[in-house]
Amino acid sequence: MSDLRTKRNKKTETESRTATITWELIERVLGSPTLGRIYLWGKAGIGKTYCAYHKGRIGRGVYAISLTQEMPASELRGHYLPKGDHFEFHDGPVLRAMREGARLVINEILHASDDVLSFLYPILEFEETARITLPTGETVTPAPGFHTVLTDNAAPDDLPAPLRDRFDAVLEINEPHPEALALLPEALREVARRGFALDDDRRVSIRGWLGVARLEAELGLADACTVVFGAERGSQIYDAIVLARGC
């Protein structure tokens, strides 16, 4: 009886803790056929884009775009190009992904112009509603398997509410991807993990550490740090690495 109570207590305790989002969970989400619109966000250089390109349902290909404020919707949808004496419509990445049932990765979604955001409304609809009519008159509906992964450094709070409402999953990641850390030499891993946890203006991204690891054999640690982080910051990081290794 008391065993049962202990077990029950343990279960309640586990369930009452705040859930944490791990990379393992994210990879499961990216592989799930029921989730069509996934928003990943977290600090720069954490591995969001890497994961969006390489994990989960990527068998039918991955189309990727990084948005800027200047990018018009026509670049996503497609546009006419001159060919000989006539113009031909060329599908953009969104259209291609829809036709092929592939994954569409949209990076820096918070940089999207109003034009692009309006264009994304029908794209991010449920499969049965999503459709787009082209200037050619053709209406395209997404092929089975089409899904979108949106990434940014910040939470989707700045997006219009109807667009936010379309996401099946909004996941924040705080830890660098273990595969990125695994690419680092053993001695740099813990340093990189700690450097990543610093405040925004002092954070050292995993990309920086990977750069140092790649260049160290060729240039030596001191020069590798200088090349990757600049003279002043590189000196400080070099001292920290040498001390961390020495400890």
Binding site: E70, L198, R202
Partner: protein, 435 residues
């Protein structure tokens, strides 16, 4: 001029090397703006590090990092003047750094300063200070110079001090080799300090309670907030906002960011949107260009961006009508914000953006003071280039009180973020028309 307040450039990374990762990052404070007894200090318990945030301060940050890596958060209790233990601890850390090929090499100015201090100690006959300074210099670039100086003018203690320098160095190096680590064990340092204190007592440099009469501050820089080592009398290190406030004399006010309703087109009539002809696109707009250059499609043209921040405090004497005129001269893609403050708070209000602007009633100032110049400039530093700041250069904080340090921080931020300050509205309007 030295670039201050740039912890992300010149600041060290103690979090990467501490033995057990702490819950919070270290607070890095610019020692150039803080009144310190030494050039650098670290409080291991409260996780604060004071170092000069400038290019030439690398030996200082290196030394402080050594303390983070190897000094215990709480020192061993000793029955003699703690400065003895601190000097030996400095030597232990410096020799450890030397062993890792991270020598503490002082710049010419610091080198000369230490040599001068030793000469002053010798002249004043302060034997205790001679011992402390010489021992603490072990493993640094100034060690040899001090040794030579002590040989040249030994005085009553010179030879003994040199003997102790040699003895301490060899003991610490032997212990380091035996431990097969980068640094001698802390316990050995404590033992060495005890022996040194014994010798100092025998020389009459420590009294019966083990305390030195010397008022010379120790060169050591490890602060232990509660009952531990304090580097000099009367120095009470604080952290967080308190230190920043003290350093700045005046704390910047709290900024609220607001966006006024942007319902009015920046210009009457056309001009809200800009398009260009292109050979690629999906909307055919300029069919007549087909035989000319085939650029028949309409595409959105790149907007000229930029940000304009206007100080509307009382000293600027700007009325809504003046701002109205300025907005008329503003390029279409430019974001315009006004700010002012009162008491402890201020408001930054966006009054124009993306070709639209606020109605005149939203151009009234929030308060008559500046108060939030620094946070407003920090906001501007994150906006798109070019960045213009219309201000008379008067910078204030809480209570609309001015401060030289606050002013310097604003100037440094302007340099770093390529913010151009113009003093007068006409000058700004002329600049904007020229874009």
């Amino acid at each position: 001029m030295t670039e201050c307040h740039r912890p992300h450039i010149f600041g060290p990374y103690p979090e990467l090397i501490e033995r057990k990762p702490g819950l919070a990052p270290f607070e890095i404070i610019d020692a150039l703006a803080a009144p310190l007894p030494t050039r650098g200090m670290v409080d291991l318990g409260k996780r604060v590090m004071w170092v000069p945030l400038e290019a030439s301060a690398r030996p200082v940050t290196r030394h402080e990092l050594g303390h983070v890596a190897w000094s215990p958060p709480k020192p061993s209790p000793v029955r003699f003047d703690r400065r003895v233990l601190m000097a030996v601890e400095d030597a232990r850390v410096n020799l450890g750094l030397l062993g890792l090929a991270l020598p503490v090499v002082l710049d010419f100015e610091s080198h000369a300063h230490v040599v001068l201090l030793l000469a002053q100690d010798a002249k004043a006959g302060d034997g205790f200070a001679l011992f402390m300074r010489a021992i603490a210099s072990l493993g640094t670039s100034v060690e040899e110079a001090l040794e030579e100086q002590l040989f040249a003018a030994p005085g009553p203690f010179g030879a003994l001090v040199v003997d102790w320098m040699v003895r301490a160095r060899s003991a610490l190096e032997a212990a380091r080799a035996e431990a097969r680590g980068p640094v001698a064990p802390y316990g050995l340092g404590v033992q060495l300090a005890r022996q040194l204190a014994h010798e100092l007592r025998a020389l009459g440099l420590l009294d019966v309670r083990g305390q030195a009469r010397s008022r010379a501050p120790s060169g050591c820089c490890v602060v232990h907030g509660e009952g531990g080592l304090i580097p000099s009398e009367g120095f009470e290190p604080t952290r967080g906002e308190g230190v920043l406030d003290e350093r700045a004399a005046v704390r910047p006010g709290r900024l609220t960011l607001k966006e006024a309703p942007l319902r009015v087109p920046l210009r009457p009539g056309r001009g809200g949107r800009a398009w260009r002809a292109a050979q690629e696109g999906s909307v055919v707009r300029y069919f007549t260009r087909l035989p000319v250059d085939r650029a028949v499609f309409r595409r959105r043209a790149r907007r000229s961006g930029g940000t304009l921040l206007v100080d509307t405090s009382g000293s600027m004497s700007l009325e809504p009508a003046d701002l109205d005129r300025l907005l008329l001269a503003t390029p279409l893609g430019m974001r315009v914000a006004i700010y002012s403050g009162s008491g402890e708070v201020g408001e930054l209000r966006i009054v124009a953006d993306a070709g639209r602007r606020a109605a005149p009633e939203h151009l009234a100032r929030f308060g008559t003071g500046n108060v939030v110049d620094l946070p407003a400039l920090e906001w501007l530093a994150k906006q798109s280039l070019p960045r213009l700041w219309i201000s008379d250069g008067v910078v204030t904080g809480v209570g609309d009180r001015g401060s030289q340090v606050l002013k310097r921080r604003c100037e440094a931020l302007c340099r770093r973020a390529h913010i151009r300050r113009v003093a007068k509205l006409d000058e700004a309007a002329k600049l904007l028309r020229g874009r």
